[in-house]
Amino acid sequence: MLKNGRKRNAPSQPGRPQPANGSLIELRRVVKKYTGTAGSVTALNGVDLQIGVGEFVVVLGKSGAGKTTLVNMITGIDRPTSGEIRVAGTAVHALGEDGRAVWRGRNVGVVLQFFQLLPSLTVVQNVMLPMDLADRYPIPQQRKRAMYLLEQMEIAEHAHKLPTAVSGGQQQRIAIARALANDPPILLADEPTGSLDSSTARSVFAVFQDLVRQGKTIVMVTHDQDLARQAQRSVLLADGEIVGKWG
């Protein structure tokens, strides 16, 4: 749970992009093929998906179903082979690699698999890094905001430790704090609870639920059916296609 159970006033509120229509995230006929030495593999095969503001969507599926590819399409980490992806009015599929990085830094919070914190930076510095890269706040304010986010995640006392000195659950909270650094409206998390024990996983999931209550839109990939049931909406992927939707 987030500290105080509700959102406090953040030190600053960056401007938010507004969706062009009712959907904050919209995927149209998205196809992604990977070509390797073993031949061509279709990871996503004509996926259509709309996600509205403030939704908490869980993406389910077996290993190799295309879950991570789907999240990578929305975050701009990867480009579709064909199809369109619009997030908060931005045609992400049309942006170049650097353009997507800049856009992502300002508009999307990403929680990667296995936490993916920079081992050479302290906890607070990891959280400050997206603000630094996006040039969003002056340095003192970056630190203040990072500490605020760490307090929200209830790990402020570990702020000056290196990531390797804290537990897996705490590392995941740091990753979430980092994803929130630039106060993005959208949070995408790729199996954030995959490497956590069930109790820690539940606590991390609770954090996401709190964020949704604060107005964030969250897309989360998971294997965990129990957690998925607690989300507002679930999307089931199989062989690169959406084969089921709930909620």
Partner: protein, 794 residues
């Protein structure tokens, strides 16, 4: 400070050994550039400036005696700025009990009002009083004298006088005494008269007007001066017109410093290879971190700037260490080179442009080196970066070389593993091999240059068949000389000879540079000329002359069969060129003529001014003993010796010059080896770091510390041996180039080339030692990692 720079700081500090190696490597590169270019700048500025403060002579005339009235006349010749008369005398200087060296005594009329070829006081009294002597600073050691000593001067007639050494001076117009073996002394006109010389002058020095910078123009002025001398009833025996403003050995200094600068820049480039390897490795290790940064919004340029920032910090630290050392080194090297050529460096300040160059190249070279790996490493897409497993890089087995290596069978695994490991990172291996191979090539090339220099000296001295040369007080009857010499124990044979300084007279009446004319018997055993065209002299030759390669340096157009006119002792004589000989070691243009013919032409039939002596034993002690015995015998018979040269002294002087040059080159080759060693240590550290997990596996299946040490040391030594082989192949053409450059700079002719097998073997031993030392630290580091740590390493 922005958060991203904390990452740079951490990356620099997280592997201190690696950072230290890179910084040291850059520092050595900066030091090399600073050392070479700094010395070049100091010498380029100070040597000509210092030389010009002496008001060097534009022309020197050796004449029949003249007085002050002629000097006043010459000062009024158009184009002449000033003129000064001096007298010089050859004598012998006692350097020990019964040990004598040649001394050139210069009588200067007005020490406090020198106009040309000024000498500067260095120590002691100035000016000298009567019966006192000042000694040139470079001659103090061979004179074995100190200020305050009383020294004995023996004139050619055998008379001895005592002079008090009252001071030390610097005379930049003279060739360093250490090269020629002759002492230079400076006395008053009265002292020289007391020593037995006439009071009038026999040398005239002039300086040309400041606007005259062309040698041809100075020659025209010299021709006008010559006319005035002859109008006054005098005779010009020889004229020298040196290149205006150019000091002795200036070309040699320029060539050596340019060579050093090239070395320095080359070392810096090689030090950049370690930056490339290190940053490639760092980027390889941090692919996932790059992906994370990009995933949270970093642009490629932002990521690239972080790694270029690391290169910049490496460069900054390298400059911080290397630039001051380069500054100190440049001062030392400038003083060392100036010392060799007996020049003073008044101002040792290294110009800001050199410091700017050091800082510029120290920062720019690592950035340039880092640019390729950084730009390719940071261009990775987020998905590729996040999917990077750390495998697939530096894997063995896919390339042509790998397949060949795989075919090798029967080797124990302790040899097979390092052999294959060495080729896993082929790009890194290529850069390390390039560094070490070039270090090998330069080292062997420098040793070969030294061997070639020694061989050239041997060849040069093969020219001389005698053991000592004696110049007599005056031309003496040859029969009398032979009789007197034959009574001296140890003397096998003596040969008469004559020498003179002559000038070529061109068809337009102008005169060329000084030429050394040597007159021998045609069947001489004292010199062994190396004929490259035409023939040697025959006993019946009259107008025949043999010219040398050094003569052709001055007048390249002359061929066998041509006729040339020379002014010999004031008399113009025509000669037919019958042959061209190659001289390895010579001070300047040299020609040979038949002694009997020349003696007859100048009225000295049956007489000789010099004697070349062949002794039973050829070592320095025997040569000196024979000279002392000859001296005693000749004096007892009233024959004076004005100067003498032992062949062994001459060899030592020439060797000293080459040793100094080779020592400077060896410093640069050593710096190159240091960079090579640092590069290898760097690559082995990176290899060990990247293979930590593999090392853990090897240890987990039972490898001992010794097994690990062996695998890593064998890999390093293998790289060293391959570099040795490549280096030796490269060394051959490089050594030839170096021998040509050094030879041309020092003796105006390429060295006799020999490829040093000893150098090849010495470097083999050194490379094994160097690579073992370079691998030891990384190998020890690998042994200290626990299995748990290695398997956890990411």
């Amino acid at each position: 400070m922005k958060v991203r720079w904390y990452k740079v700081l951490h990356d620099l500090l997280s592997n201190k050994k690696r950072s230290v190696l890179v910084v040291l490597s850059i520092a050595v590169g900066v030091l090399s550039v600073g050392l070479a270019t700094g010395a070049q700048t100091i010498l380029g500025r100070e040597l000509p400036a210092g030389y010009l403060t002496t008001d060097p002579a534009g022309a020197k005339f050796i004449t029949t005696p003249f007085g002050d009235d002629l000097i006043d006349t010459i000062r009024r010749v158009p184009g002449v700025r000033d003129a000064e008369g001096r007298r010089s005398m050859g004598a012998r200087f006692q350097t020990g009990p019964d040990e004598w060296r040649s001394v050139s005594l210069f009588a200067i009329p007005h020490f406090d009002d020198m106009r040309v070829n000024k000498i500067h006081p260095v120590q002691g009294a100035w000016p000298p009083s009567d019966h006192e002597i000042l000694i040139e600073q470079a001659a103090m050691e061979i004179a074995r004298a100190h200020v305050g000593d009383e020294v004995v001067i023996r004139m050619s007639d055998g008379k001895e006088r005592r002079l008090l050494v009252v001071g030390v001076v610097h005379d930049p117009s003279q060739q360093p005494a250490t090269f020629g073996g002759s002492i230079y002394g400076y006395v008053t006109m009265e002292t020289l008269e007391w020593l037995g010389a006439p009071r009038d002058y026999d040398e005239l020095y002039i300086t040309a007007d400041p606007q005259v910078r062309d040698r041809g123009e100075v020659r025209r002025i010299a021709a006008r001066v010559r006319e005035k001398i002859e109008d006054s009833g005098g005779l010009v025996l020889a004229t020298t017109v040196p290149e205006p403003g150019k000091m002795t050995l200036q070309d040699a200094v320029d060539a050596i410093t340019v060579l050093l600068s090239a070395f320095g820049i080359f070392i810096l480039i090689l030090s950049g290879f370690l930056v490339v390897n290190t940053l490639s490795a760092l980027l390889g290790q941090q692919v996932r971190q790059i992906g994370i940064m990009k995933a949270i919004g970093a642009r490629t340029s932002q990521v690239a700037s972080l790694y270029l920032g690391i290169a910049l910090v490496f460069g900054l630290l390298g400059v911080t260490i290397g630039a001051p050392l380069g500054w100190l080194g440049a001062r030392w090297l400038a003083m060392f080179i100036a010392g060799i050529i007996n020049s003073d460096v008044a101002n040792l300040s290294v110009s800001t442009s050199v410091l700017g160059l050091e800082v510029g190249v120290g920062l720019f070279a690592p950035l340039l080196a880092a640019a390729v790996p950084v730009l390719s490493g940071t261009r990775v897409t987020v998905r590729e970066a996040l999917n990077d497993s750390g495998l697939g890089r530096g894997q063995f087995g896919t390339g042509w070389i790998d397949r060949r290596l795989r075919a090798i069978r029967g080797l124990p695994s302790a040899w097979l593993l390092p052999l294959r490991n060495a080729f896993r990172r082929k790009g890194r291996l290529a850069l390390t091999l390039a560094t070490l191979s070039l270090a090998s090539a330069f080292f062997v090339a420098v040793i070969s240059t030294y061997a070639s220099a020694l061989l050239s000296i041997d060849h040069g001295f093969e020219y001389w068949g005698m053991d000592l040369m004696i110049n007599l007080d005056q031309p003496r009857r040859i029969a009398r000389l032979e009789r007197a010499a034959s009574q001296v124990p140890g003397v096998v044979h003596v040969e008469p000879a004559n020498s003179a300084l002559v000038n070529r007279v061109y068809s337009d009446g102008t005169e060329g540079d000084i030429i050394y004319l040597l007159a021998f018997l045609a069947d001489t055993a004292s010199i062994k000329p190396d004929m490259v065209d035409g023939r040697w002299l025959l006993p019946e030759d009259e107008h025949a002359i043999v010219i040398t390669n050094r003569f052709l340096d001055m007048d390249p157009g002359v061929r066998v069969g041509d006729s040339i006119r020379l002014k010999v002792m004031g008399k113009e004589m025509d000669w037919q060129v019958v042959g061209i000989a190659h001289l390895m070691l010579a001070d300047g243009p040299t020609v040979y003529v038949n002694l009997p013919y020349l003696a007859r032409e100048v009225g000295l039939q049956g007489r000789a001014g010099a004697l070349y002596v062949h002794t039973t034993r050829h070592d320095a002690v025997s040569q000196l003993q024979t000279l002392q015995d000859l001296d005693r015998r000749f004096r007892s018979q009233g024959i004076g010796i004005s100067s003498s040269v032992l062949l062994d002294d001459l060899r030592n002087a020439v060797s000293a010059l080459f040793n100094a040059v080779v020592m400077i080159l060896m410093i640069m080759a050593t710096l190159l080896s240091v960079v090579g060693g640092l590069g290898l240590t760097g690559i082995m550290s990176l290899n060990v770091l990247e293979r930590s997990r593999e090392i853990g596996v090897i240890r987990a299946i039972g490898a001992s510390d010794n097994d690990l040490l062996k695998v890593i040391l064998v890999e390093g030594i293998l790289i060293g041996l391959v570099s040795w082989l490549i280096g030796c192949l490269l060394a051959y053409p490089l050594a030839q180039t170096l021998c040509d450059a050094v030879g041309t700079a020092m003796i105006q002719t390429p060295l006799t080339f020999t490829f040093s097998a000893a150098g090849v073997l010495i470097w083999l031993a050194l490379v094994v030692g160097l690579t073992s030392a370079a691998c030891y630290l990384p190998a020890r580091g690998a042994c200290q990692i626990t299995i748990r740590e290695t398997l956890a390493y990411e």
